[in-house]
Symmetry: C3
Subunit: 205 residues, 3 copies
């Protein structure tokens, strides 16, 4: 089980790197810029999480496997940049898988550090969504997750479901699989039907 | 005294959260985006401060009271978004109170960590002003404190006054109250009379 | 030798501060905004590096020499803002020196912390280049190093050369001087001949 989770995590890094690299290619960045944006998209959320937790070493500084997958993802994105539109659907699926897994990883790391439930959910959301926020800040756009897509909201709900299952003493692997699968399904359904949160507008007079 | 300071700190978080949320509403963010911007505005400065100090845990990760006030502030901002223009004056006062208190908190934490006076003032400025900087970066604007308003300069001067009083062996609570009150008054006077720092222009030939 | 390196490091901070301050003056920031942008440009890269390494204190929090050089650089930039275009060449040289030294410093700190070679190179690149990235994010521009100039790529190659020399058991001071000098020369040659990395474009049909 543990091993499967690591593989999925690496796949999540790979696909986040691809999505970041494609965005940088669209912005006409040079190859190094593409690599950096892919890297930041893939590790940004987990890096902010690890920095917030004082005693935790940043995860990609003590191992290199994630780095190889990120570099691989960026190279794939550059080589297949013209074809990747066709694969858009499969990319979306990997991205949703990454969101699901990264969210639950963040919540679990919060629990390991004896944090309050609310803070665990915040860490899950940061891990799942803030790579994309950093990506958008670096390419000088308003982060897309704040405006057009339901994304982080899924992290919040998914993290809460994990904590509820934990309280109900649901055991592994169901405890991990259920919220991850729910996050993935929710994300894909929302993209399929273009569901957005209602905007908060000022009253017109 | 200590308890009063905590209450004011929570009020500062509340009003920073309201000001962040109102900005996000203006930018047509969705509800989650509004929550995030409110959150970042309220805790951003203190978070950067705590990350810079290696041994210090990020303050909102080990307690939840600030979080409740922030969520409350965001909900208030959403509900009363049409009326809050009328309350603009009271908001400004709370924001100035937050600036005063957060600045002195930052300076004190610097002293507790045996930092040099200059670094204490930097930490005070970061605590008081950088929540707003992060807010502006995330909504993709040039941070307002660098351009249009005297804001961080007040933090610098207020922090210096605190350190001077400390050297003069002024005791609490006067030691804390005087610079906090001076920061609040300075900020309100500057807003009232729309005082700005002189711009540094290139010589025209 | 050690002392010479410290002097060069301080000169690097000074010139990075000048380059940041000039950018902020162009953006019509007020004096405090100019100071902040100069400060962030000079210490930003090293600060991110120190934050990523869990146990390392942020370098400018425990000493003040860098701060004096940064404040000095900002004041020089403000006073001589009209003349500094003439000195543009000397500024470029100092900036290249800063890039070279900061890169190797970052790599060395990675080695001291027993990190993998790839991670050492990443830390070198972050130290050398990310002050400029933060500067550009704060003035609300797309970071220039991702698009128009070969900059971080030089860090990566320079860091790799240092590690190769280390493997070949080359001793100090040659071990340090060679990659630093190569980085400086590469940067100046690239600027002189306006060399850019090839853009990755979509195939036209």
């Amino acid at each position: 089980m543990e091993t499967i989770l690591i593989y999925i995590s690496l796949l999540g890094s790979l696909t986040f790197a691809i999505s970041g690299a494609l965005k940088a290619i669209n912005k006409k960045f040079d190859p190094f810029g593409i690599l950096i944006i892919g890297f930041v998209t893939a590790v940004g959320g987990g890096t902010i999480r690890d920095i917030l937790i004082t005693d935790k070493t940043v995860f990609w500084l003590t191992e290199t496997t994630h780095l190889y997958f990120i570099i691989g993802g960026v190279i794939l994105a550059i080589i297949f940049r013209n074809k990747l539109n066709k694969f858009n659907k499969s990319l979306t699926i990997f991205d949703a898988v990454g969101l699901g897994l990264f969210t639950i990883t963040g919540v679990q790391i919060g629990l390991e550090n004896d944090l309050h439930y609310i803070n665990c959910i915040i860490l899950g959301t940061v891990t799942g969504s803030f790579g994309g926020v950093l990506r958008d800040v670096l390419v000088n756009e308003t982060p897309v997750i704040f405006k057009k897509e339901i994304y982080a909201t899924i992290s919040i709900v998914g993290g809460a479901i994990y904590l509820i299952l934990l309280k109900l003493e649901v055991q592994n692997p169901i405890l991990q699989i259920v919220p991850i699968v729910l996050i993935i399904i929710a994300r894909l359904v929302i993209l399929k039907f273009k569901i957005t949160l209602p905007q908060i507008n000022y009253k017109k007079k």
